[in-house]
């Protein structure tokens, strides 16, 4: 633990005085030579160039670590031979194979990490070694990702920083950097269209367009340092981590047994994986978007159940839209229908619940939700209609009142004429 030792090296009085001098000199503008690494490397072209500005953005620099912490050497010397001497512990460019181990020398040490961030995990290296990346690296494949490929280097930011390469909104782009590069991925026998598909998905829309950080990116399903997330035996079952109710319904359904028997990967069969779009009720139909009919035969028992499910959802959807329409007209006429409007949310909840219950593939269960929604939508429609009748009644009443006022005005005018004539 060279770094730890460096960090905890006791300060002597002489060192304190020296530090005080450096601070004083720096304040006078004479402190430019305290880090000879940056003095030279800020003037070098890439990949050797590291500017003071770039390094100051790095979370490690902000926590007090320096070039020496990873590369060793003596930054206090202006002589390159002394600064980069093996005697001074200089390691030079870190070999790719050694990077996980070097990062792990601190990040796998709970006592050390606790000083900076007590909530930061320290199992990244162990996790990495179980991943495909880690295993291939151990086998000698240096093309696979190591820590710096994802997290960047010399300007590494905390994942919570929106500019971090591993911030949830940037993760997919970072993975795509290698996984969408057909040339780079040649020889690995895996597709390279994941990002293209993901970009069309409902998850990408939620995360990248709406900025919903709870929406999944690559690492949500595939894990980051390790393999799949905790508690998930197969990657295809990862959906249940978020879509818990759908998963519960599916677990009890007849499809679960059938899919397991046929070694089909659950959710993915109907919804796909990287390119998951927003599901619609048309999935239950017979049109181009239909998914049931990919496996089922028209007219069989399951097709009949499918038709019943589709018709139930369509009925409730139409009932809600119909009630919404009447309520909107009543509202625009100034009628107070906020209670019925609120009720419509209840009907919409029933529709959403029915769409979740579809994953049980049990017509009676779905029908219960449909009926509950239909009841509310019918009540709201009635409220809207009553409001419209009331609106018409008010207008008739207004007409009669205006006629009465007109008669009174005419009478007054005639009376005025009479008394003034």
């Amino acid at each position: 633990m060279a770094i730890l030792q460096n960090k905890l090296r006791p300060f002597s009085a002489a060192r304190c005085l020296g530090l005080a001098f450096v601070v004083f000199a720096a304040s006078l503008g004479y402190g430019q030579t305290t880090n000879s690494c940056l003095d030279c490397h800020s003037a070098l072209p890439d990949p050797l160039g590291v500017s003071q500005d770039k390094f100051s953005q790095d979370i490690h620099a902000q926590k007090g670590l320096t070039c020496v912490s990873c590369h060793g050497g003596d930054p206090s010397s202006d002589d390159p031979d002394k600064a980069m001497s093996r005697k001074a512990g200089w390691k030079g460019k870190i070999d790719r194979k050694q990077i996980p181990q070097l990062c792990g020398s601190c990040h796998s040490d709970p006592a050390y990490i606790r000083q900076f961030n007590p909530s930061l995990r320290t199992d990244q290296l162990d996790q990495y070694r179980t991943s495909v990346h880690g295993r291939r690296l151990a086998a000698g494949d240096t093309k696979v990702a190591v820590c710096t490929d994802c997290h960047s280097v010399h300007d590494l930011r905390a994942p919570s920083d929106p500019r971090s390469t591993v911030n949830p909104v940037n993760v997919a782009n970072k993975c795509a950097h290698c996984h969408s590069d057909a040339g780079y991925m040649k020889g690995y026998s895996i597709p390279t269209d994941q990002f293209a598909k993901y970009s069309t998905s409902v998850h990408y829309q939620a995360l990248a367009v709406r900025g919903d950080l709870s929406a999944p990116t690559c690492s949500t399903c595939h894990g980051n340092h390790g393999a799949v997330p905790p508690g998930v035996d197969k990657i295809q079952n990862v959906c249940s981590n978020c879509h818990a109710f759908q998963a519960q319904m599916y677990e009890k359904s007849s499809h679960k047994k059938a899919f397991d028997a046929a070694s089909l990967p659950g959710c993915v069969v109907c919804h796909g994986n990287h390119g998951i779009v927003h599901p619609t009720d048309a999935y239950l139909g017979t049109g181009p978007e239909a998914v049931c009919m990919r496996c089922h035969t028209p007219g069989d028992k399951c097709d009949q159940a499918r038709a019943a499910l589709e018709s139930g959802l369509n009925r409730l959807d139409s009932a809600i839209k119909g009630a919404d329409q009447v309520l909107a007209v009543a509202e625009s006429s100034g009628m107070e229908v906020s209670e019925a409007r609120l009720g419509q949310d209840q009907a919409r909840d029933s529709l959403t619940k029915a769409r979740v219950t579809i994953h049980s593939f049990h017509t009676d269960l779905v029908d219960q939700d449909i009926q509950a929604g239909m009841k509310v939508a019918a009540r709201d429609l009635q409220a809207g209609k009553e409001a419209m009748v009331e609106r018409d009644r008010r207008r008739v009443g207004l007409g009669i009142s205006l006629i009465a006022i007109g008669i009174a005005l005419a009478g007054l005018w005639l009376y005025i004429k009479k008394i003034e004539s």
């Binding site: 100034g334 107070e336 008010r394 006022i405 005025i416």
Partner: protein, 361 residues
Amino acid sequence: MSPLRTLRGWLEERLGWDDLLVPLRKKTVPLHKLSYWYFLGGITLFLFVIQVLTGILLLLYYRPGENEAFESVQYIMTQVKFGWLIRSIHSWSANLMIFTAFAHMFSVLFLKAYRKPRELTWVSGVILLFLVMGFGFSGYLLPWNALAFFATKVGTEITAQVPIIGKPIMIFLRGGEEVTGATLTRFFGFHVAVLPGLATLLILLHVLLVQRLGISIPSKLEAQWTANPSAKREMRFFPNFMLRELMAWYVALGVLGALAAIFPWNLGVKADPFAPAPAGIKPEWYFLFMFQTLKLIPPKVWIIDGEVLGVLAFGLGGLLWLLLPFFESDQPSRAKRWITGLAVFALAYMVGMSVYGHLAK
């Protein structure tokens, strides 16, 4: 003898009201091409009476309180027989009353009816206008809906800009640092007790002064009539003018009924103190010219905070407006033009800024 005449005789013996009605019978109204403007004061009074009557009816069901106000107004609008009509008329009538009060004030200004000896009539009228705006501000919060909540928040915050006394006034109005249920109960108290009491006293004084001093005649016409008394044309107040005023009231009633039936006053959504303020929130139209001005003033004007400067300027402007008749000199021609010019500018400014505020995002 008919029962009506018997009753009248009985009351006459005890009250002697024939003597009380003598001044009313003798009272006349000048007749000229601008006489129609004389109806505005009466219409404003009529709308005030409508406010009082509908307000009393609303009080039968309204419950002031953070958890009850919105629901009680919703109940009035949906469950109480003709509740929607009473509430809509109350809201529309409030807006029309403020409009007619402004129109009445400007008509008085342009017809020079504020001149000696009617200075106090003007002063009482301007204070009444401020009270009417206070009615609007306090009543707006009572349904406890989102727009009202945030408008009150913004409005009371502006009060806090007044140096030294602003913050204590804001805390007094809000009943604390924030707009809460305590603000609602205070505003309810102002709206149904304090303001009506003050307004009734001032209306009595205003009407008494009009009765005592008679109706003003435009200065040019007054000079013509003094030079040629035979050209003077008048109408008896009672019953001739009163019957015409009654016709105007009927028309106002018809307009109110039509507005209430065709455009019932919206209730909105219940106030949620934790929700963000709705985008582009604006005050009621009669405060819009002030609100828009405050928005346009730069944050710093020289060393003074822009908003503080705006609030102080409106405060000073209101005070000068109140005292306007006292600036008119006995050598009137120049001052008259100056005041007329000011009135035209004020009207154009208020209308222009209100339209700008309405259209601005």
